[in-house]
Each structure stands twice: as C-alpha cells, then as structure tokens.
C-alpha cells in the first residue's frame, strides 16, 4: 500500500510564534497559502514559504504539521522521515498510525535539528522517505522544496501577528531584508547591514545622509 504526503503546514498555530511558523503574507493584496505545501497544487519554493522567529523559537519544540494519506482504509503503521532541510534540518523518523477506517492522518513533526544562526533566507529541500513499521527498507515518499525566512524576533508594530491581518510581515519585504541582513545575529548588525547594503545605495544624497546622520531606516532595523 502506497503512502502519500498530502500537505505540509508550517504555520499550523496562528497564535504561537514559538512552536509554529509566523503569520505572514506575500504583500498587501495576496496571502501566503496555508497549508504551504499541497501535493495537489504545484508551487514554487517561494510560494511554499514560511518564516520563523529565532528569539521566540529558541528552546521550544517547534513543529510542522504533515498530512499523510493512504488510498484505502487499513490498519497499518508507517515510519516517516526526511533528509536535507537546510536551516530546518533533517526530520527524525515519526510513526504514523492508520486505524479505524482512517485514510488521512495528521502528524506533528519536531524540527529537532533546526539551526537558526541569524537572519537568513534559504530555499530548502526535504527528501521524504517512509517504511512500514518493522520493515527495513525505506521508500521514496516525496521531495518538497520551501523558502524559509529566519528573523531575529517577531517583527514589532506596525507589523502584527494577528491572524489574517494585512500587517502580517510581507514576504515581498522579507525577500529584501533577509538577504540584505543575512547572517546578522543581533539588531545593531542587522541595522548596519541594512544601512550599508540598502537598495538605494546608488542614490548618493540618501546614502550620504544615512551615513552621516542617525539611523533613519528604523523600519528595516525593526523588521529583522
């Protein structure tokens, strides 16, 4: 019997940035779809994206929620794992139990090997494998790719973590900020990176003013 990976949800708890991905959206007009990965809908890694806050997740059991399906009801137990994962790390084997006529099972998988050293934007790939419990041979399940943003902490006001709010952090901005401030481990170094490598760098009057005066790009500094 073939096991199928149906969906992966990174932002499975909209109220918790410490055990789940952040509430984000693409921009003022478009949401980031949830579940972020759906095997029935082709998406690029950039569309299958999630953001994590380093401060809030540190020391916590951060998980993703995965839905797995079997084509017909059966009493069977599988083990599922994934290799790769970049900053999210590999996923240790977890058991998925199908019984009582259930064909769709959800399982929360800990990101036990994640590594959030600082601000980053990374496209990661997981190679998913499974085997029947007690079996020896692992089978290919799926290959999934995702864009993962890591920020230092939950972005403060005017951004918000209220679910479905237009002021959830925008990935259009994260795509800029997390690259510009990539590798920064604290707010001052992120601000410095932003100031020095801002897209308006070529605009000399602004550059002159930014470097001479106090930091004016507060939103960038606070965002990451």
């Amino acid at each position: 019997m073939t096991l199928q990976l149906s969906t992966i949800t990174f932002d499975h708890d909209p109220l918790s940035p410490s055990t789940s991905a952040l509430n984000i959206r693409r921009n003022k007009d478009f949401e980031v779809p949830i579940p972020e990965y759906d095997s029935s809908i082709p998406r690029t890694p950039a569309e299958s994206c999630a953001a994590f806050a380093k401060l809030e997740t540190t020391g916590n059991n951060v998980t993703i929620r995965v839905h797995l399906t079997i084509p017909a009801a059966a009493n069977v137990t599988y083990e599922v794992k994934a290799s790769g994962g970049g900053v999210l790390g590999k996923l240790d084997p977890v058991q998925v139990v199908f019984s009582g006529g259930v064909t769709d099972q959800a399982v929360d998988i800990p990101l036990a090997h994640r590594n959030f050293p600082g601000i980053s934007r990374m496209d990661i790939t997981w190679n998913w494998r499974y085997r029947a419990k007690g079996g020896s041979k692992w089978h290919h399940l799926a290959t999934t790719s995702h864009r993962i943003y890591v920020v230092l902490a939950v972005p403060p006001s005017p951004w918000t973590q209220v679910f479905a709010d237009k002021r959830n952090p925008w990935t259009d901005l994260l795509d800029q900020c997390c690259v510009i401030a990539s590798g920064s481990v604290d707010a001052p170094s992120a601000a410095e990176s932003t100031n020095e490598r801002h897209p308006f760098e070529s605009c000399s009057p602004l550059r002159h003013r930014e470097r001479r005066g106090p930091l004016r790009l507060c939103s960038h500094r606070r965002f990451v």
């Binding site: 909209p14 959206r25 007009d29 478009f30 949401e31 209220v162 479905a164 709010d165 009057p205």
Partner: protein, 265 residues
C-alpha cells in the same frame, strides 16, 4: 525653531478649534486644462488609501514637456473624517523631508499667496520662489514639491485651491451601494456568515479606471492567487459581527464608500 512652533505661530493651533465642511464634489487634476501646468505632462501617478488618518491619496508626477529637468510632484488627499485630519496630514507632509527645512523662510500660503485655509511654503535655498508648498482646503490636502519650478508651484496651488474652494461641500459623507456587495447579499443574504479563519468569496472587480481599497477591523480582504481581479474575505480569529469597508475612486480625489456587515462564526 521647531516645525511645531512655527505652525503654532502661523495659526495652526487656532485652526484646530475650528471646523470646515467636507469636499462634496469630485476634483480631477488635469494638467492640460490648467494654465500653470499646460506645458506639463503626467509621467507617473499612484493612488493609495492611507488608514491613519483615513485619506485617499493621489500622487502625480508632472514633467515639463520641453524641459524635463523641471518637474512637479503633486500630492492630493481627501481626508474622509474631515478638516482636522487634513491639518494633521499637512503637518506630517511638512515634516517628511530628509533635508532640513529653512524655517525662517517658511511662509503662510494664506498670507503670502492668498490661498488655502492653512498652508506653508518655502524655498530650499531660503529665498526666491517656493520649491515646497502645501495647504489645506476644507478636508483636502494639496502638497507640491517642485524641482526647478520657478513660480509654477504657487500658480498651480492657486488654481487648485480655486477649484476646490468653488466646489460643493457637504457635512457628512453617505454610502454608495456597490454591486460587489449588493450581488454578494443576493447570494449570501443580508448578513453573510463565514467561519472563523475561513474564506468568503466576494466576487470580481474590473479595475480599469477605478481603484479599490478594502478595510476591515478583523481579517482581511485579499486577491485570489492567479485571479487577481477576484477578491475574498479571510476571517480572523475574532468571532461576531464584522464590517468590511470598500472605498473606490476614479481619476478624482473624492472616493465613494460602501460597507458590508458579516458574521464570523
């Protein structure tokens, strides 16, 4: 002298105790029809809804057809909640520049140029024709940033103020039914229901000459991925009666508004 002190000296605080009617008739800035900007063409235009204070803002970049070095950046805003918000926007406009404002050169547009309910203007060099000019007429804000503009900002300001001053006014804005909501009510009932965190398709809007803006206290109105003209409401986690407000505008500065009540269950 800080900007606030300067504004007080020009009578800003006194005006905050007063009221003005609301602009009741739309205004479209057409550079070709104004004597001050007949040699200019619009090279860029953007429209957005500012939430705090609530205002439809239209920014138009005008360039002299024969001397591209001469340009004007015109901001027109109508504050839905009235005169005081327009004054607040004016204060923010005056404080929005990276360059230090030569405060001793700032003049009142009312005194120096005889237009606006309240306004300020200044040349960056400290003397000569103003490069920056901003004024309020009723609940409308007009801001002009000129580059190599000579007398054009003052002439344009006067023409726009004349147009605004002679338009009808009103004491309050009323709603205008929009077919997006009327059609939705036909389909879903007067008060549509949507589960918490769920999705309510609203319908399709043909944008064309119109710009649409949605506000909601909880949840958000979004475009469908791959079908950008289709909109839906994503409910938040807050249950109970919610309101979606739709503002839309044509080429002018006065938007129309319609509202939809719904229940998040």
């Amino acid at each position: 002298m800080p900007m606030k002190e300067l504004f007080t000296r020009l009578g800003y605080d006194e005006l905050l105790k007063q009221e003005r009617p609301l602009l009741g008739e739309n205004y479209v800035l057409d550079p070709a029809s104004l004597s001050s900007t007949k040699d200019f063409k619009a090279v860029h235009e953007s429209v957005f809804l500012r939430e705090n204070p609530l205002a439809l803002v239209r920014q138009i970049h005008l360039q002299n057809a024969s001397k591209p070095h001469t340009s004007l950046n015109v901001t027109l805003a109508v504050c839905w909640n009235g005169f005081h918000d327009a004054l607040a926007l004016l204060f923010r406009f005056a404080g929005s520049f990276e360059r230090a404002v030569p405060l001793v050169s700032v003049v009142s547009t009312m005194v120096a140029h005889e237009f606006g309910d309240f306004g300020v203007a200044w040349p960056w060099s400290g003397k000569g024709d103003p490069d920056i000019l901003a004024f309020v007429r009723n609940n409308a804000l007009v801001g002009i940033r000129a580059h190599d503009g000579a007398q054009t900002p003052v002439l344009l300001g006067r023409e726009v103020d004349t147009a605004l001053r002679t338009r009808k006014t009103t004491d309050r804005y009323s709603d205008t039914a929009h077919e997006l909501f009327t059609e939705l009510k036909k389909r879903q009932g007067e008060i549509p229901r949507v589960p918490s965190t769920g999705k309510l398709p609203l319908g399709t809007l043909s944008e064309g000459a119109f710009k649409f803006f949605f506000l909601s206290a909880s949840g958000s109105v979004n475009r469908e991925a791959g079908r950008a003209q289709s909109w839906y409401y994503r409910a938040g986690t807050q249950k109970g009666r919610q309101e979606i407000t739709l503002y839309w505008s044509d080429a002018g500065i006065l938007p129309k508004r319609d509202r939809l009540n719904l229940d998040v269950i």
